[in-house]
């Protein structure tokens, strides 16, 4: 499988808020033998698609497909955006004689990062080390649209010194839901409050997940309620790249070092 050309669709959230996750994804892909490229990109179009704005969603999708369809695989460090590319792009072009075949062929090559490593590249272990107890939140789209559940746990089990404590209702939504979290903030807050209570109950020092949207929501709630748990994208831990402060954590450490 070595030498596969992989287009990294880094996602707009990681691009903007947390580039370190993008570099962790690159490391994991390169360690697995892939050649990674990063075409110019913006967003997968999900905010438009889920707001009922099909025209904009489609225009964005056309441009993503055109930029990425020449790769062997398109890999996305997010279940939600990967679900958009893989499950929903074909819906956008259904019945279009020109675009449907392109969208279908493109969609078949799109994968969420961790499931790509395990299911396609056959990665069975990492050489990372992480001293601490973690708990893992199953983000909804990755879990239900793409079947991402066992893969991250399997790789986490190979991280030296790491132990995983499952939280109650790990597979229940965190209340992010894209624009939902700002359209219905009170409801979103009630849902994320339950989620962080379950995370706290595990006693784990770090909360992991595979979607930055959910992570920002949970980290934001935890920080507002007094912190205590660090929040990171699972790729950071699997790549052994946890020097950056955790999500929503203070930057003192880095400044002290510089």
């Amino acid at each position: 499988m070595a030498g596969l050309r992989v287009g990294l669709f880094v996602t707009c959230l990681i691009d903007f808020f947390r580039p370190s996750v993008g570099f962790a994804a690159v490391k994991l892909l390169e360690d697995a033998g892939c050649v990674v490229e990063v075409p110019h990109q913006a967003c997968c179009g999900q905010p438009a698609f889920n707001s009922g704005d099909r025209a904009d969603a489609r225009a964005i999708a056309e441009q993503v497909i055109a930029a990425f369809e020449s790769f062997d695989y398109i890999v996305v460090p997010s279940g939600s955006c990967a679900g958009m590319l893989r499950a929903h792009y074909p819906e956008l072009f259904r019945g279009d004689p020109n675009w449907q075949p392109r969208a279908d062929a493109f969609a078949a090559k799109c994968f969420e990062l961790i499931s790509f490593l395990v299911d396609v590249m056959g990665v069975t272990a990492t050489n990372a080390k992480f001293a601490g107890t973690v708990t893992y939140h199953d983000s909804c789209s990755g879990l239900r649209e793409l079947g991402v559940k066992a893969q991250p746990r399997r790789l986490l089990a190979t991280v030296a010194d790491l132990s995983l404590t499952e939280m109650q209702d790990a597979d229940v939504c965190c209340g992010f839901g894209g624009t939902f979290c700002v359209k219905y903030p009170e409801i979103s807050n009630a849902i994320v409050a339950k989620k962080v209570a379950n995370a706290r109950a595990t006693g784990a020092g770090t909360l992991l997940a595979g979607d930055l949207g959910c992570l920002m929501n949970m980290a934001g709630k935890l920080a507002r309620d007094g912190g205590g748990i660090k929040v990171r994208h699972v790729a950071e831990v699997l790549a052994g790249m946890t020097d950056e402060p955790a999500i929503a954590a203070p930057r003192e450490q880095r400044e002290a070092a510089s």
């Binding site: 691009d15 903007f16 570099f23 707001s51 009922g52 904009d56 239900r144 894209g178 219905y184 980290a219």
Partner: protein, 472 residues
């Protein structure tokens, strides 16, 4: 529209629900009972998922040939001495029922649980016309004496605590000793049973819903746990089945498939306590049964759904699993949705029935977590159907102007990756600088929806793409 919908005030309703401590306590039962029990019985049945496929396929087949099955069903019912009435609208259903009740000189009507009766607003209508309806399902009885809508399609009084019900019983059952013990569920049940027993015997007409209508035999079937439905439909001299056209299935064999998924999905029971078939009026050698048997088949927009994007919704067998598993429903309960059908199924069905202009919040108030679709016994793609409603809303310019403006501003950049890359890199650096060493914001302009309750994580600095292109 029949019942006054408060769906346009969904946000206010939700806010009130979140602040209602009693309600929040009552809602815990969803997580402690419904979800675990469903999982337990589903896991015990290896063929459960195959049964769900079969149930979906039977409904799809029936819906594809609904005209033929309706005719067949009507023929059977009529041959057995029953009457089938087609009601195009809710108003039609009400007036058909009023006519039947008047012909029977009815003063007292007992009612089994029927969501269609809620949909057409039957109780209030009968009361206005001097006919007293008495709900005989315990949950429905409780919400009737409170003048409320059901908050859940199979557990109408789910939003209430025992103490609240006891207080209502004391308020309404004035003839009973005021200091009686109403602490236990059993004592509440016994009191309701004693009160209702007289009504069963005195009723002139019994109205039930139907879980299934069987084309092959002309039977209607109710699936219940309390036995009240049986008394409602066998004791009075007239039985009216108030139901809707999508309840049809071809054969009794098909019903058996549904029964295996319905109770498991709904209450986590393997079977409900009562599964009661009724097929026409009393025959000459029957020891009991109603003398008249009427079926009122409501359309109320369903034929239109049959030919459109929302057809899959007509498979729904009203088990309630989608709302039990919905994080939004779990947070706010059913009344916040503002009309008869709450939760994910309501978010799809309600806009069809009362209009997306009134019910626009419902399909929007979903995180699209997909848990509803995951547990639906007939595999209705509920998130996809909610998204269809969002598309309709967007096309009709019903979504808020600020949302539309924000979306088109964002889309302008998202469609131009070079420009997008430049703008976002600049913005990310500025925000990173603004946040200083804190790494997050406690407040940001235009982001109060987020920052009122959560900190907003700051960007790390330059964007990933900017950093990548400097290195490559």
């Amino acid at each position: 529209m029949t019942q006054a919908a408060t769906s346009p005030r969904f946000k206010e309703n939700a806010r009130a629900a979140l602040a209602d401590g009693e309600l929040q306590k009552s809602l815990k039962i969803l997580e402690t009972n419904f979800i675990g029990r469903r999982k337990q019985v589903a896991d015990k049945l290896p063929e459960f998922d195959a049964l769900r496929d079969a149930a979906r396929d039977i409904k799809n087949h029936t819906l594809a040939h609904l005209d033929l099955y309706l005719e067949e069903y009507e023929r059977r019912v009529t041959a057995q001495g029953g009457h089938v009435h087609y009601a195009v609208t809710a108003a039609d259903a009400r007036s058909i029922i009023l006519d039947i009740c008047r012909a029977a000189e009815a003063k007292l009507v007992t009612k089994g649980k029927s969501m269609i009766a809620e949909e057409v607003g039957l109780d209030d209508f009968l009361a206005v016309h001097s006919i007293t309806p008495v709900e005989t399902d315990l949950g429905e009885y409780i919400i009737q004496i409170r003048h409320e809508m059901p908050s859940h399609i199979i557990a109408p009084a789910l939003h209430l605590s025992k103490a609240q019900v006891a207080a209502d019983f004391r308020r309404v059952h004035k003839e009973l000793p005021p200091n009686r013990n109403l602490e236990e569920p059993e004592t509440l049940l016994a009191e309701a049973r004693a009160v209702l027993r007289e009504k069963f015997l005195a009723a002139d007409v019994g109205i039930t819903g139907a879980n299934f209508l069987v084309a092959e035999t002309g039977s209607s079937i109710i699936v219940t746990n309390e036995g009240n439905g049986d008394l409602t439909q066998t004791l009075p001299k007239v039985h009216i089945v108030l139901t809707s056209i999508e309840k049809l299935v071809p054969t009794l064999e098909d019903v058996a498939e549904f029964l295996r998924v319905l109770a498991r999905s709904a209450t986590g029971q393997e079977m409900s306590v009562y599964t009661t078939l009724s097929t026409g009026p009393q025959r000459p050698r029957d020891p009991d049964g109603p003398r008249e048997y009427h079926v009122v088949l409501l359309d109320n927009g369903r034929s239109a759904m049959l030919g459109g994007q929302f057809r899959d919704m007509l498979r729904c067998i009203r088990c309630g699993a989608c709302m039990n598993h919905c994080p939004v429903y779990q947070a706010i309960g059913g009344h916040a949705y503002g009309w008869v059908y709450p939760g994910p199924m309501g978010a799809v069905l309600t806009p069809s029935l009362i209009g997306i202009d009134k019910a626009g919040n419902l399909p929007n108030a979903s995180t699209f977590c997909g848990r509803c679709e995951e547990v639906c016994p007939v595999r209705i793609p509920l998130p996809k159907l909610m998204r269809f409603w969002r598309e309709r809303e967007f096309e009709r310019h019903l979504s808020p102007a600020t949302v539309r403006a924000g979306l088109s501003f964002w889309a302008f950049f998202a469609r131009r990756p070079w420009l997008y890359g430049f703008a976002t890199d600049l913005a990310a650096r500025v925000l990173a600088l603004m946040s200083g060493a804190r790494g997050r914001f406690r407040w940001l302009p235009l982001a109060r929806g987020w920052t009122d309750r959560r900190d907003f994580p700051a960007p790390q600095g330059a964007t990933f793409q900017a950093q990548w292109r400097r290195r490559h």
